[in-house]
């Protein structure tokens, strides 16, 4: 018997009127998220929802309609809406569109990213995690802020080309921000496919200890050698994924790697891939067009090797989809890697990374990072929740947060050493339908990073 989501997708597909192809995507989300602040619970959200998205193709044009009603009449109405919009698109354009057609079926490899215990979404487990965080904070004389969440998402794709794919994943995330009375803060988080892999005590201890370590100094703007914890590295890599490896941006000549594929773009120490089944990542079986996920090297020994594609961006350059569609028929802003993995190096830990630095900056995480000039990978953002001065090879004092303005390729180009231990880092942000992503990466030391305020 087909899984419930796939069964619904196939019923929705059957409601579609004829055209040049159709895809039905069903996404079922069950999730629970508990927030806390000042060592008190503040908000708790429990969600059950199902979305049916129908994509119609006609003469190279695409139209989509979506609903969260699943009765037969709602599916028929959704199908009519998809047909109406695709007909209108074809008529308005006056010529054939560029969408090459829905991808053919291909077998996706299985993964082990579903944990039945996590899928229970037990609110008592969340309550216990909060209690642990509050106790750890109290032990250090600070207050705990943060969020605990678990979710189960089932995705099914059925299409007129014969795609019939179903994927079921769970994810869990805990973050703790310890804040002292003077406003000094410390951050730690954990992300995994299962709640059992989270350790609330360890996370809370790490965050609250950082918050309770003295009065911060100010550092003058300038260029300093820096040790970035994995969370900060993950933020930079996530931006690099968007700015450099987006196949549509590359085809538009606005991508950061235009004219640079096959050349050295960062330090030879950097090896980056999109690896959907790498240990510790948040696996997915297929992308939003039902194309199977597969490992894809992006940077090898500092040399950029390729960009990622969905069906639409691939057609623009005569390539094949690499399984990176973010929406059915491809997102307007293009494809993006969702399982970035950067290989580690030889440094045992962050302390060892600090050792060669005479005077530098230790960064726990980055915040409000935004692209200033995307083609250059020029970003600006601020450090947050744990910025420290490194003196004579060790962390000595907390610093007030700093603003950086620098290019990702430049920061990675100046990398001197990588930590041996990689972790899965995620912001735990769930806008719209839950789609848990994260980056597996180590901490690193870069020769310089530009701080502008």
């Amino acid at each position: 018997m087909a899984p419930a989501a796939l069964d619904l997708a196939e019923r929705a597909l059957a409601a579609m009127v004829s055209g040049d192809g159709a895809q039905a995507t069903v996404t079922k989300e069950r999730s629970l998220l508990l927030r806390f602040a000042r060592s008190r619970p503040t908000q708790a959200t429990s969600l059950n929802d199902t979305t049916v998205e129908l994509t119609a193709v006609r003469d190279g044009h695409v139209g989509t309609a979506a609903t969260n009603r699943t009765d037969a009449e709602a599916l028929r109405a959704c199908a009519r809406a998809a047909d109406t919009v695709v007909r209108a698109a074809a008529a308005a354009a006056g010529t054939s569109g560029s969408y090459p057609g829905l991808p053919a079926p291909a077998r996706a490899r299985a993964h082990a990213a579903h944990d039945p215990e996590t899928a229970r979404l037990d609110p008592d487990a969340g309550g216990a995690a909060l209690t642990t965080a509050f106790e750890a904070a109290a032990g250090h004389g600070v207050e705990a802020h943060g969020a605990w969440t678990a979710g189960e998402v089932e995705t099914a794709v059925a299409s007129s080309t014969g795609v019939a794919a179903n994927d079921r994943v769970t994810d869990a995330f805990l973050k703790v921000v310890g804040i002292a009375g003077d406003g000094r803060s410390g951050y730690a988080s954990q992300t995994a496919c299962s709640l059992g892999a989270l350790d609330p005590h360890v996370t809370a201890e790490r965050a609250t200890r950082k918050a309770a370590c003295g009065t911060p100094d100010r550092l003058e703007p300038g260029e300093y050698p820096v040790v970035l914890e994995a969370h900060a590295v993950a933020d930079l890599l996530t931006w690099l994924g968007t700015l450099a490896f987006n196949g549509l941006a590359h085809a538009d000549e606005r991508g950061a790697l235009c004219g640079r594929l096959g050349t050295r773009v960062v330090s030879p120490a950097i090896n980056l891939s999109d690896s959907p089944r790498y240990p510790g990542t948040l696996p997915r079986a297929f992308d939003a067009e039902g194309v199977p996920k597969a490992p894809l090297p992006l940077i090898q020994d500092g040399v950029a090797t390729r960009v990622v594609h969905d069906t639409r961006s691939a057609a623009l350059v005569g390539a094949q989809s690499t399984g990176h569609a973010l929406t059915p028929a491809g997102a307007g802003d293009g494809p993006s890697p969702t399982n970035l993995v950067m290989m580690g190096g030889g440094a045992a830990d962050e302390a060892e990374l600090c050792r060669p630095i005479e005077r530098g900056v230790y960064v726990t995480r980055l915040w409000y990072t935004n692209a200033v000039r995307p083609k250059e990978t020029l970003l600006t953002g601020v450090t947050r929740d744990g910025t420290f001065l490194i003196e004579d090879g060790r962390v000595t004092r907390p610093l007030h947060d700093l603003r950086f303005t620098d290019t990702v390729l430049g920061i990675l180009g100046r990398v001197q050493e990588l930590g041996a231990r990689s972790v899965l880092s995620s912001e735990g942000e769930f806008y719209g339908r839950r789609f848990a992503t994260g980056v597996v990466c180590p901490p690193l030391r870069t020769g310089s990073m530009r701080f502008t305020a």
């Binding site: 909060l130 969440t149 409000y368 839950r434 305020a453």
Partner: protein, 478 residues
């Protein structure tokens, strides 16, 4: 549906100290062209129920897509379960409110969902074509958005009200590429244009096809323009960029949940404290900011917020001094305010309300038109249309980049400058405000990408601004 909610509230009354529920139905139509093709043509319909309960001091919220009695009962049970599972905490009071009763509808002269798709597409395709004359324009896009939300709200305190809001608008963007450089120009604003709480008439009035040629020309001209210099100088911001400046450095900073620390782990806190009311010098005496949930056309305009508090006008800054906050019933009570500012808003049925901006507006001044303001400026830079934004978690240090800038010399707009940026610290920046253009230049700018909350929510808000001048600003920082 009202009967369902009333029954549900009756059921909740004996099991929770407080409960409310929202039934929400939304329709969204998004259309985009890309280089002459229809790139995006989506219609999304969503309906469901969100139930919020308070037991002791803990909140629980549960959402379900079903709208029948069984689904409602199940959602209530889940909300109660998650509230009870959390560590015990003290119950803080909720500021009192008269139960919301009645029906409210935003004005929409032409229902955007009644306008044939062909008409919308024709306008977008025409605008798209108008941007594609120069081969250096690699990407031309035109956008349309229509959004309808209908909701019914009820609470255990006797509230029962219905609301219907309609939003519509669009925009165009041209991306030019040459010699390794990429420059972008948008109209009437970046990030899909300008959206208002209005009908299709707002989209029509944007006249996107007639703007296409200059948008593309300016994107191309930016490729060969000199870069914005790095210096401290006089800065004039156009209304669109000033709207985002206001959003980031005032709107978010005066959200009372941030000030009280309950958003510290995600959105952040604020440099403003709860005791700063009537004390903090936020900016120059020309700075007057109002949070106005009654402004016609504003995306933050409503009859009642999502805990049943009537939409209202709240002075935030008067003559440069902090006078008010954006608040909820819970945060208002904790801060010792007599009543909520009516700022609790939720995205759809599946998220619980948070303290959000309504329409946070900078009141107009008396500096005349933008051209008058430029003529009255000896030397400086005019920056237009946001391209990048970043601000720290206390809303204190910011850095913005815009799409275009022009140098001002002897009261005249001179050379186009590329890659403009500026940075500053919130109170110092607003202290430099020395001129605000007059009422005819003032307009509401829709912002439809304001993220906050966990799980994340995107709010639609507006900001009324007229171009304004700031002295002593550090520019060319990136």
């Amino acid at each position: 549906m009202s009967a369902l909610l009333l029954d549900l509230m009756d059921s909740a009354a004996g099991r929770a100290d407080y409960a409310d529920a929202r039934l929400v139905h939304s329709d969204v139509e998004r259309i985009s062209t890309r280089n002459g093709a229809i790139d995006e043509l989506d219609h999304t319909e969503e309906e469901g129920l969100g139930v919020r309960v308070r037991v002791g001091g803990a909140w629980g919220f549960a959402a379900t897509r079903g709208t029948d009695r069984a689904a409602a009962d199940e959602a209530l049970a889940r909300a109660l379960a998650v509230a009870l599972a959390q560590p015990r905490t003290r119950a803080t009071p909720l500021a009192p409110v008269a139960p919301a009763r009645g029906d409210w509808r935003s004005p929409a002269r032409i229902d955007p969902f009644d306008v044939p798709l062909e008409d919308k597409l024709a306008t977008l395709v025409s605008a798209d074509a108008g941007m594609r004359g120069d081969p250096r324009v690699k990407v031309a896009r035109a956008h349309y958005l229509a959004h309808r939300v209908e909701k019914t709200f009820a609470s255990t305190e006797g509230a029962l009200c219905t609301q219907r809001s309609t939003e519509c608008g669009g925009g165009i963007v041209a991306l030019a590429v040459s010699d390794g450089d990429a420059q972008v120009r948008s109209h009437p604003g970046s990030f899909r244009g300008d959206i208002a709480q209005a009908g299709h008439e707002h989209f029509t009035a944007l006249h996107l096809p007639s703007a296409a040629a200059w948008v593309a020309d300016e994107a191309v001209a930016l490729l060969s323009a000199p870069p914005c210099p790095a210096e401290r100088t006089t800065l004039i911001l156009d209304g669109e960029q000033l709207a985002l400046q206001l959003h980031e450095s005032v709107g978010h900073a005066v959200e009372l949940d941030r000030i009280l620390g309950t958003e510290a782990s995600y959105a952040g806190t604020s440099f403003v404290s709860a005791t700063d009311l009537d004390r903090l010098r936020y900016g120059s005496p020309l700075m007057n900011v109002t949070a106005d949930a009654t402004a016609p056309g504003g995306l933050g305009t409503f009859g009642w917020d999502d805990e049943g508090v009537a939409g209202q006008r709240t002075p935030i800054v008067r003559d440069g001094e902090l006078q008010g906050f954006l608040s909820s019933r819970e945060s208002a009570a904790e801060a010792g305010l007599e009543r909520s500012g009516g700022c609790m808003r939720a995205e759809g049925f599946a998220r619980q309300p948070l303290v959000r901006m309504t329409n946070v507006n900078l009141e107009p001044g008396d500096a005349g038109s933008l051209e008058d303001l430029i003529a009255a400026t000896d030397r400086g830079v005019l920056m237009a249309t946001n391209r990048s934004w970043s601000i720290d978690s206390r809303r204190l240090h910011f850095q913005f980049a815009t799409e275009a800038a022009w140098e001002i010399v002897d009261g005249e707009r001179r050379r186009l400058l590329k890659n403009p940026s500026y940075a500053g610290t919130t109170p110092a920046f607003w202290a430099g405000l020395d001129a605000v253009c007059s009422s005819p230049e003032w307009q509401l700018w829709g912002v439809v990408n304001c993220g906050k909350g966990e799980p994340g929510q995107v709010a639609h808000v507006s900001h009324g601004t007229a171009p304004a001048r700031f002295r002593g600003v550090e520019i060319g920082v990136a």
